[in-house]
Amino acid sequence: MGKPILLILFLALAGVANGQVCSEYLHGRISDETGQPLPQAVIQIEPSSYRSISDVNGRFSFSSLCPGEYSLTVTYMGYESASRQVRIPLSEEVIITLQPSRTVLKDVVIEAGVGGRSVTQTSVSLETEDLEGLHGKPLGESLKEIPGVSALQTGPSIFKPVIDGLHSQRILILNNGIRQEGQQWGLEHAPEIDPFIASRIEVLKGAEAVRYGSAAMGGVIIIQPPPLHETEKTGGEINTGFMSNNRMGILSVMVEGTFAPQSPWSWRLQGSSRKGGDYHAPSYNLSNTGLEEFNFSGALGFEDDRRGFEVYASTFNTEIGILRAAHTGNLSDLEESIESGRPWYVEDFTFDIGHPKQRTHHHLLKLSAHQHFPGVGRVSVLYGGQFDVRREYDIRRADRAGRPSVSLNLISHVLDVSLDHERPAHTGSLGINVSTKSNTNDTEVTGVRPLLPDYRQLSAGVFFHEKIRRNKWTFEAGARYDFQYLQVLTFERNQLIKPTFNFNYLSGTLGASILFNPRLRLSSNLGMTSRPPHVSELYSEGLHHGTASIEEGLMRREGEVITDQSSIDLEFSRKWVNSLQYTAERITADFSVYYNAIDNYVFIHPVGTRQTIRGYFPVLQYDQTDVVLAGSDLAVKADIGKRWSVNTKISYVYAKDILNDDVVISIPPAQWDNGITYRPGSIGKLNECFIGVSVPITFRQHRAPRVVAPQDIDEGNSGKIFDFTQAPPGYTLLNVRAGFKLPIGDHTLGVALSGENLLNTSYRNYMNRLRYFADDIGSNFILRLSYNFLSH
């Protein structure tokens, strides 16, 4: 880089840092791919807090800019957001063309991105703060910020996302474009993903099964790292954090760049680590809830006008302690734990992770390429190889303490090929997905009969999806055919048997959306999805040490193994979602209502007890019934004056077992979050100062199953489902967050301090499995530092 540019840059940044008034001018135009101007698009210019909104001719301008390098980010509802680097002074007009979003009809899309790129929300800076304010938290907990998304929890570190009441096998996670094939079959298995890689986390709550397959029945979570080609220099970001509750340290480092100016090749390396000790509840230590995590990823990409290519590899490794007191021996132990109201095992704080604990590894290799063929469209090929290891360590006798009781290896390969075409009036895609999975247990290591049997699976699907635009209307239709081959390797009285199945099933979607004016959009979508039950739902068997209960799959009844394919009923869901989105300069609102009818809904629930030499154990059985889930999510964000903003989020889901006229177990209770933020702007040298208060209110789940205490369970307990305790009462928490950005030369230091559960309220959450044993965590103060740097 030449000296004059350096000098200009220096002057420019010095100018920004000193709040000096500059007089450069920048103007441009926003259009869609047909050249039509797009009014009401939001253009953010960084580094500065200026925003502009395009006029009816798609034109925008910024004045009073200082000379230097800026990045423009354009967001517009229904279109992919776009970024552009500009060097000021610049005399010519900047023309930015937006591509329609591939999921324009996705029902409710709420995104939070580090880059602040967002389709439906215009409060870009708040979104940035949102994700920054979650650094160091597990993925599932971060997602709870989104209305309609909650989590099934096992203690303070294990969160499984729940979208509109559905979870586990019905939620698909796309990790950097690859369908995550982890070990999600247990309630205490969180997704194996490092949220630090994401610059954008998107949740699709509609029926997206056409594009992504039946695993997307309940919704899709898209974890998207920032694009590789945004930067022309070597730069990066360091994030550190410290959490008071469990004395956790968090570190994340990311470096990225290109090999030469104008080079189509670029690269990124990223690593993160977390280490924390025992969490504590307001009145006791939650002994053995420490965790340790180490993640690393690297990417190399090539991109020019016509084609692109990327190699990405990542590794995720974690060890998590499970609350010691949650490990109960049998039914009498469970009964004593519930009655005593506090954990029986409480020790002093320690960083050591004892037993029980789980250790998981997830390694991913991704290869992707795309090529643009004029007149045809874009062909994309994506391969993902994933290797998963899950080891669960239990309390064991004699010299077996170092040996896991569960040791699973899952190897999967995914291949996706798709052709996307874009014409002025219609866009669409067709494609094929193929995947293989092979799951094995190391029983020589464990010396324990496996809970989840070995299996091999091959699935293939073909889909098409087309979208037509007519003035204010957009119509959408899609269909998909899937085939799945499944071979299970299990034992019946020590004899190996290999039940084998072939499933063929269809999915489809129909939708329409009308843009009344650039601010108001109404969408309606109907989706139908079929899903064969997962192996764990079919063939789990045995004592689940982590939950002190005996689990029995659908195909295991009273010691018999059913192998007949005709005994398997596919889950069949029909979901209808209607959403209304209003996006204006000062206020954004998203409102959605959905109705989801699922036939043969698979769920697990306590059914009785079984006598063994270890005493009586609760037996949890997988069952199928017909359910209806209906609910509504609302999110409103409004700016009051220049410095204040308020937001509110409400989620409610009603679930009913229509076959048995009963409630449904493990459905999230109603949630209402309120927040207010004050942004004084710059104070002295500190930029982007803010302070915010949020008050999440969680209601009691009034539609929880009836209560049967462990000692009262007997084999005659058929009929209505039950749970061991009452749903815990509702609770209200108080959280506060404040922060600022400090320019240091041309680098930026971000500082944020947050206090969660400031009043140290004792509470239990209905969706936390450890609610039988202990309170949730008490107050927690978190200091986060982030440092952005560019080198020249």
């Binding site: 290799l365 290797f387 006798r397 290896n409 068997e541 154990f617």
Partner: protein, 181 residues
């Protein structure tokens, strides 16, 4: 270099294991306790009683356990009792009693008895706390009685009090008839 060292073996493992067609072998469940036997003796011939709880497939299997009481307790007697634990799925059977004796500091047998029977400990661990492998059962009057035996696994939390912290490794109940002495 470091990246290739980390990822190359993973790749190789992923591709080779993907083609793995080895069938799983049946698991010889370790750590399993199939049998709890209480041998009760008064010192007199013909007065011995044997209580046996046999669970062929342990806690994870669906086969119902078999409980047998061989002989009858007599009122007004004191019995010397010894507990034996076995894993009978292996040949020869594995002696779990020895494993418990070795880890006596982490284990405690708890006895819950109905009227007519009291149990006292005759053994202790390295810190003088009871274990319960060797006990004395005092039987007072004739009638029906029950005894529940729980083996508590109390790594680091053993105080000698019942039930105390920890997990239950065994919990079995015997229904007994005490005859007139």
């Amino acid at each position: 270099m470091k990246i290739s060292r980390t990822f190359f073996p993973i790749l190789v493992a992923a591709f080779s294991a993907g083609c793995d067609k080895d069938d799983p072998k049946p698991v010889n469940e370790e750590e399993l306790i199939t049998t709890l036997t209480v041998i009760l003796e008064t010192g007199e011939p013909e007065e011995g009683v044997v209580l046996r709880f046999f669970d062929e497939d342990g806690a994870s299997g669906g086969i119902a356990p078999i409980v047998t009481v061989d002989g009858a307790l007599k009122a007004g007697r004191e019995y010397a009792a010894v507990i034996e634990l076995l894993n009978e799925t292996t040949d020869p059977a594995e002696d779990i009693t020895a494993e418990i004796a070795e880890e006596a500091d982490d284990h405690l047998f708890c006895f819950s008895t109905s009227e007519h029977i009291t149990v006292s400990y005759d053994d202790e661990d390295s810190e003088g706390r009871p274990i319960g492998l060797v006990t004395t059962w005092s039987v007072s009057n004739a009638g029906d009685a029950t005894v529940t035996i729980r083996l508590r696994h109390q790594h680091g939390t053993k105080t000698g009090e019942c039930p105390g912290g920890g997990d239950t490794d065994i919990e079995v109940t015997f229904d007994l008839v005490i005859e007139e002495g």
